[in-house]
Amino acid sequence: MAELLFWPALLAYGEAAFAYAGDARHPGSLGRLGTWGVRVGWLVQTALLVAQAARADGFPWDTWAGSLNLFVWLVVGAYLIWGCRPRYRLLGLVVMPLAALLLAVSYAAGGVAGSGKSGYSTLFLVLHVGLLLAGFAGLTLAAALAALYLWQERQLKRRSSTVLRFRAPSLVTLESLVARTVAFSLPVLTLGMAAGFARLRHGSDLDPLIVLTVLTWAVYGAFLALRFGVGWRGRRAAYTALIGFALVIALQLSLQTGHFA
């Protein structure tokens, strides 16, 4: 049942990615098709996760591939908050191909199939994995917004004659959204990390993954301190958000060989 739901979800995300690409060339009805692809795909993936949860004995996403599945759902869910507005459709160009790709990787690695009995308590995993992944999802969205900011900024700097064609959000709006998204995501990430630290046995070694997580947290913490403390904005702030996201990607990849190995 769960595997059967995977294909329509992937198809809808793929359709949304192609529709957004078409909408960037000819704004209009393709954008709405993309939006519906996102909505339908997300609902189908929600059903997929519910089916997995109903079948599993314990926390169903306690593998790397399973967590990737949950991560995609969180990213698309975060995107749905404002990504469906016409002016933010360009975000879909970044988010939806990524979502489709990661969902396919999750399927290939067995993240859509049911898992066996979890070795951890469900409450701990919900708090630790759930909050960390929700934080990562928010930071992924912030990175997509930062990328859109840099693209738009470059268009304006180069005085491109086509800058108005894409109906993207304004620079100031994008900059503010990046900051607000990070400001929302970092506390969620912090809570997830705190849940993890609470499980660490006294005297146990810090693994490289924990160090990388703390480094990521520090980068985003510095971003927020500079942005709201000394009014640090513009390109430098956007690049910092992207550097932080590079660490998030490194973390996601390391999870396979670290925590879930």
Partner: protein, 413 residues
Amino acid sequence: MNLVLVGTSHRLAPVEVRERVALDLDGAAELARRLADGGEAVCLSTCNRTELYLAHQDPDLAERLAGAALAEGEIELYRLRDEAAALHLFRVAAGLDSLVPGEGEILGQVRAAYESGACGPVLDRLFRQALHAGKKVRAETAIGESPASVSSAAAALAQQVFGELDGCRVLLVGAGDVSELAARSLAARGASISAVTSRTQERAEALAARFGGQAVAFDNIEGELARADVVVSSTSDPGYVLNAERMPERKGRPLFVIDLAVPRDVEPAVADLDDCYLYDVDDLQAVVSESLSGRWREAARAESMVAHEAGRFRDWQASLDVVPAIASLRERAESIRSGELAKAAGRLDGLSESERRTVESLTTQIVNKLLHVPIVRLKEAAATEGSGYVDAARHLFGLGEDEDAAPGRKSRK
């Protein structure tokens, strides 16, 4: 009921001809009332067109009346009927017949003409559908979104940097007509013209007063430069008025600089400063050209949308012919049903009230089910094959002969 359009526009007549038939809203309303004379008429008169829409039983007469009202013989007019007339109005409402495709003013003018016209069922439906088509085209295509002039391009680019311009401070360097035009575009989108500077203090003061800003001395604008979000420069100075050294550090706050002067007022190196976005006249002209070509691209998409709407109107107009026939058919069937029940009343005396209601309901259902398919087919055929089917139905069921036939039947009894 036929739809007739007679009119002239910028495509057919130069301004000196158009101005002879141009009417203000009251004049257009008065002409519509006079032409309607118990029927339906709407007069749409703008700077680019004067058009009369009439719904009339006799289209030739309607054309003659409208032609006479527009001084036929003295100016060239176009005449369109039914679907072609509807398509024309839908194109007009969508801005596809305008000088600049997608211009937004026409939709309001169509609405005003509709509201002041003498509308009946046909023109009411036509104009409501035209307004719907106009809104739909603007909502689903980007035809009206891109700027069509240098000053509106400058304002649109400022919005691309700041979003809403409410609260944005604008500094005008130079107080000529070009500066004023750009200031109007920015102010119309919510920006505040906070300061004006010019070599001629009186002109700066006059322009500042018009926008509620303040005039500042030309050599003392550093403070205003630091506070401004948008700078518009348009002086006749042969050299650079603003150079990179004079620009204050922005610390992440964007500054949008619009250089409308030739020779240029702003040193090109300003564009290299962090958070500064500089556009000169050529850059803005390129944005306008791209935007106009974009409007033409979108116009091609919009054409298919308005053609679809015109098709819907044609179907609706055709369905008007079938409505009386369907009503007659239902009436005939009901009179037969109730007549036959009345005849059988004596034989149904023994039925209880509930059984009587069952018989009523049963006979009504039989009649409705028998009529359902013919009525659906009639409606479909009226939309696709014209009035032939309606005439056949009238002939087959003897519709419209009731008054003649009924006494005949009685006399045979």
